[in-house]
Amino acid sequence: MKVLVSVKRAIDYNVRIQIKSDGSGVVTDGVKHSMNPFDEIAVEQAIRWKEAGLCDEVVAVTIGPDAAGEQLRSALAFGCDRAIHVKTEEPVQPLTAAGVFKAIAENEQPQVFLMGKQAIDDDASQTGPMTAALLGWPQATFASSIELADDSARVTREVDAGLETLDVDLPAVITTDLRLNEPRYLKLPNIMKAKKKPIESSSLDELGVAPAAALESLKTAPPPQRESGVRVESVDELVAKLKEKSLL
C-alpha cells in the first residue's frame, strides 16, 4: 500500500503574528516557519503504518517556495521514502492546492491521501475535501483514529456531538485531527541523512494546473484590542456599572 501525505510550510505556532502596516497580510519575513502541526500528525501516522507493515511506501508532497524544501526534509527525517516539491512563489489558494494534489494523486496512485485537517495559517479546512471532490474519492475528515484494512479504512471523527465512526473505501482522502497521535522527536542522525536524500521537483505548469483566483483577500487586520478593565471598589459599584452597560 502506498500513502501520500501533504505537508505545508506555515508560520510556527509559537510565533506572535504581526500584521503588515498596510494591511496586505501578515509579516512572514524573518519569521519562524515549520511544518503545519496537523500535517506533522499525518506524517507521523503514515510512518507508524509503515513501521507496522501496513504500508510500504510513504510519499510527502508540498506546494510552496524554495524554503518549503525544509519541511520536506523534516518529512524525510520522519521516515518518508520520497518527497515531491511543487514549487511556486505565489500564495496558493485551497482550490489550486487541491488541483495540484489531484494531479499528484493521479501520478502516484496512493491508496490513502493523508492531510492535516487544516493549515494553521489560513485555517480554511478546504484543501482535503476539495481534493477528494476533484478526484471523486470518498473522504473522512477530522480523524482521531484510523484503522486501516486492505481496501477500506474505519475512521473515527471528532464532531461537535462526540465521535462519529465511518467506513470509507480506498482510495480515500483522510484528514487528521489533533488527537490522532503525538508526533515523535526527530532524531538528529535521521535529519542528517535526510539532508542527503533527493527531492523531486515539479511545478503548477508541469502538472497542468492553473492557479485559481476564486478568492480575493481584501484586508488583514488584528483582532480588536481588549479594553483595559476597571477596578470596582464595592458590590454596589459593580451592579451600577453592569446596569450602565445594560448587562443587568
Binding site: D12, V15, R16, V31, E182, Y185, K187, L188, M192, K195
Partner: protein, 540 residues
C-alpha cells in the same frame, strides 16, 4: 537513569557549536578554504538567529571578506550609520558629551544580529555547511588521550523528574578531530572546558554585563534612520557601570537597550527595572510614546577583554568569539571580532590541520591588538564613573600604551552583603519614576521574547543546594536571583507548610546566562534544556 544509554555516533571533519557570528564565519571560511571538509554546526535555537541578541552596530570588515558582494543583497535590517550622540543622563535632565572615538560609527551599519545570522545561514548552507538548529551541545566529550573528541546532544523526552516519557529519544554523540566552541557569552560547554583544562589559569576572571533590549515600532516622526545614541548615568549610580543605547532603524523601528555591568555591588538592583526607568527618561521617552514593542529579550555579554581572555585552544578544540571573550567593550562591539576569530581558526586549521597554535595566532591578530589597546578602559570604571571616564580619556589618548594592565575580578564577588549597605535602595536613591510604557513587568516582557520550553522536562537551571537560598542568601543578599533574572524565573514563595522556598519557573528562561554568572554563591548551573527550547527572538 541506571543503565547506560546506547547512543548513535555521527562523525564529521569539523564540528562547530553555535551558529552565531563566530560559528557561522568559521564554518563558511572552512568551506571556502577546503570545500570537501564536512562541517556540522549545532545551534540550540529552534532556528538560526532566534537566540542571538545584540545592538547592533557592526564593523563590516570580516563580512566584506567572507561575502564580498553582500551589499548587493543585504540583510533585511541594514541601515547605514549616520550621526553618533553620547549623552549623560541625570534624573531629570541630560547633557550631550563629546562622542568617545571608539564610538564613532562612520562607515558601520546597524543590523539585527539575529536577522544577520538567519540571512547568513543559507549562504553557509550554499557552501555545503550543514546546520542543525534545534540541537544543542549538552557537554563536551573526551577521548582516551584526554583530547576533546566532540559533544553529546541532550536527551529528548525526559519528564520533570528525569524519567523517560513516551517518545524518549536519547541524545547522540558527534565526533570530530576538531571542535570549535562558538557558544557566545558563558557557553555551557566552554565553561566546562575552561574548568576542565584550567584554561583561565593565567588570565584574570572573566567579567560580564547583562544587556536588555526591545525592538519598537514608533510613530513616523520619532525615528531618524541611522542615528546612534548612547547614554551613561541615570538611573544607575556613579559606581555602577552601564548605560543605554538607542539605534534608529528604517521603517519606523527603534532598537533600544540597556547594559549593566554585572560587577554591580548592590544586590537590590534590578537591571530590568533600570532599563525600564531609562526608557522613561525625558530624553528617551518621547521617541517611544505611541509606539509598540515588537520583540524583547536579554543576553549577557563579556566585558573582561584582553586580561580575561582564557587560553583559547586545547587538544582537539578551540574556543571562539564571546565564548572566549573577544568583545571590545569601549566600542560595545563583539560581532566583528567574533567573526574574525572564527575566520582565523578556519585559516589556522587549513594551514596546520590542528588546533595547536591557534591561541598564539588569535593573540597576534587584529583581534588581539584591538583588545590589548583598550584593555584598561573597562576596569578603570571599577573606581566609579568619573575616574572611569578620565582613565578612558587617558587610555584613548595614549592608545593603550600605559605600561600597566588593570586587573579584573569576578563579578559575583563584587556583590555586597545587605548588612554592609547603608545606602537607600536604588529606587529611592535614583528617584525611580512611575512607568506607563509597556511592558508592565518582566512576565509581560517574556511574552515578547516568545520563549518556549516544554514544562515537563528536567529543570535546566540547576541550583546545587537550595537550602543556601533560604538559610543564607535571604538575609545575606536578599535573593538577588529574583531581581537580576530578566525573565522572572526565580521566585521566593511559601510552600504548603508555610516555609520559604525557591520556585524556578524554568519555562520562562531566555538563556541570558546572568544567573550562572552573578549568583553570589556560584551554585546556579545553567544546563541546556531540550533542543529548540528557549526564546524565539524576532529581529533582536
Amino acid at each position: 537513569m541506571s543503565e547506560p544509554i546506547e547512543r548513535d555516533v555521527m562523525a564529521y571533519d569539523v564540528l562547530v557549536v553555535g551558529a552565531g557570528p563566530a560559528g557561522l564565519a568559521a564554518a563558511m571560511r572552512i568551506k571556502q578554504n577546503a570545500p570537501d571538509t564536512e562541517v556540522c554546526v549545532l545551534e540550540k535555537a529552534s532556528e538560526v538567529g532566534a537566540h542571538n541578541l545584540a545592538g547592533a552596530v557592526v564593523e563590516t570588515g570580516p563580512l566584506d571578506e567572507l561575502v564580498p558582494d553582500w551589499r548587493d543583497d543585504p540583510p533585511a535590517i541594514c541601515v547605514d550609520a549616520a550621526d553618533d550622540e553620547f549623552w549623560m543622563l541625570h534624573q531629570d535632565g541630560s547633557r550631550r558629551l563629546p562622542t568617545p572615538p571608539q564610538q564613532n560609527n562612520h562607515g558601520n551599519v546597524i543590523v539585527s544580529v539575529g536577522n544577520l545570522m538567519s540571512w547568513l545561514a543559507p549562504k553557509a548552507e550554499a557552501l555545503g555547511v550543514e546546520i542543525y538548529p534545534g540541537f544543542s551541545a549538552a557537554e563536551a566529550l573526551f577521548d582516551e588521550a584526554g583530547a576533546v573528541r566532540g559533544v553529546r546532544t541532550p536527551d529528548m523526552g525526559l519528564d520533570r523528574a528525569g524519567q523517560p516519557k513516551n517518545g524518549f529519544t536519547p541524545g547522540i554523540e558527534i565526533h570530530a578531530p576538531v571542535t570549535l566552541f562558538a557558544e557566545g557569552c558563558r557557553g555551557n560547554c566552554s565553561k566546562q572546558l575552561i574548568q576542565h583544562f584550567e584554561l583561565d589559569r593565567h588570565s584574570d576572571p572573566q567579567t560580564y554585563g547583562i544587556g536588555l533590549k526591545e525592538l519598537w515600532k514608533v510613530p513616523e516622526s520619532q525615528c531618524r534612520p541611522g542615528l546612534i545614541q548612547h547614554t551613561i548615568g541615570w538611573p544607575l549610580d556613579d559606581d555602577t557601570y552601564g548605560g543605554g543605547f538607542v539605534y534608529h532603524l528604517d521603517d519606523n523601528r527603534i532598537a533600544i537597550g540597556f547594559v549593566v555591568g554585572l560587577d554591580y555591588a548592590d544586590p537590590r538592583l534590578r537591571p530590568f527595572e533600570a532599563f525600564q526607568q531609562f526608557k522613561h527618561h525625558p530624553r528617551i521617552k518621547p521617541m517611544l510614546e505611541g509606539g509598540e514593542i515588537i520583540s524583547a529579550g536579554a543576553r549577557a555579554l563579556v566585558e573582561g577583554g584582553w586580561q580575561s581572555l582564557p587560553k583559547t585552544e586545547m587538544p582537539g578544540a578551540v574556543i571562539l568569539g564571546d565564548a572566549a571573550g573577544t568583545l571590545n567593550v569601549p566600542k560595545i562591539k563583539g560581532i566583528h571580532t567574533a567573526m574574525r576569530s572564527g575566520m582565523i581558526a578556519a585559516d589556522h586549521l587549513h594551514a596546520h590541520g590542528t588546533a595547536d597554535g591557534f591561541d598564539a595566532a588569535l593573540r597576534a591578530s587584529t583581534v588581539g591588538a584591538e583588545l590589548k589597546k583598550v584593555r584598561n578602559i573597562r576596569p578603570g570604571f571599577n573606581k566609579g564613573k568619573w575616574v572611569g571616564l578620565l582613565n578612558a580619556g587617558w587610555e584613548t589618548i595614549t592608545k593603550g600604551a600605559s605600561p600597566w594592565t588593570l586587573s579584573n575580578h569576578a563579578d559575583w564577588q563584587a556583590t555586597r552583603r545587605l548588612d554592609d549597605l547603608d545606602s537607600p535602595t536604588p529606587e529611592d536613591a535614583q528617584g525611580y519614576v512611575d512607568r506607563d510604557l509597556p511592558p508592565r513587568d518582566r512576565l509581560a516582557s517574556v511574552y515578547f521574547a516568545q520563549t518556549e520550553h516544554d514544562e515537563d522536562q528536567p529543570v535546566h537551571l540547576q541550583v546545587l543546594d537550595t537550602s543556601i537560598c533560604i538559610e543564607r542568601c535571604t538575609h545575606e543578599y536578599g535573593n538577588p536571583c529574583t531581581r537580576f533574572c530578566p525573565a522572572n524565573v526565580y521566585e521566593m514563595v511559601e510552600n504548603e507548610t508555610g516555609q520559604a522556598e525557591l520556585k524556578i519557573n524554568a519555562a520562562n528562561c531566555v538563556h541570558c546566562k546572568t544567573c550562572d554568572i552573578k549568583d553570589p554563591y556560584q551554585i546556579i548551573n545553567w544546563v541546556v534544556p531540550e533542543g529548540g527550547s528557549g526564546p524565539n527572538y524576532y529581529n533582536l
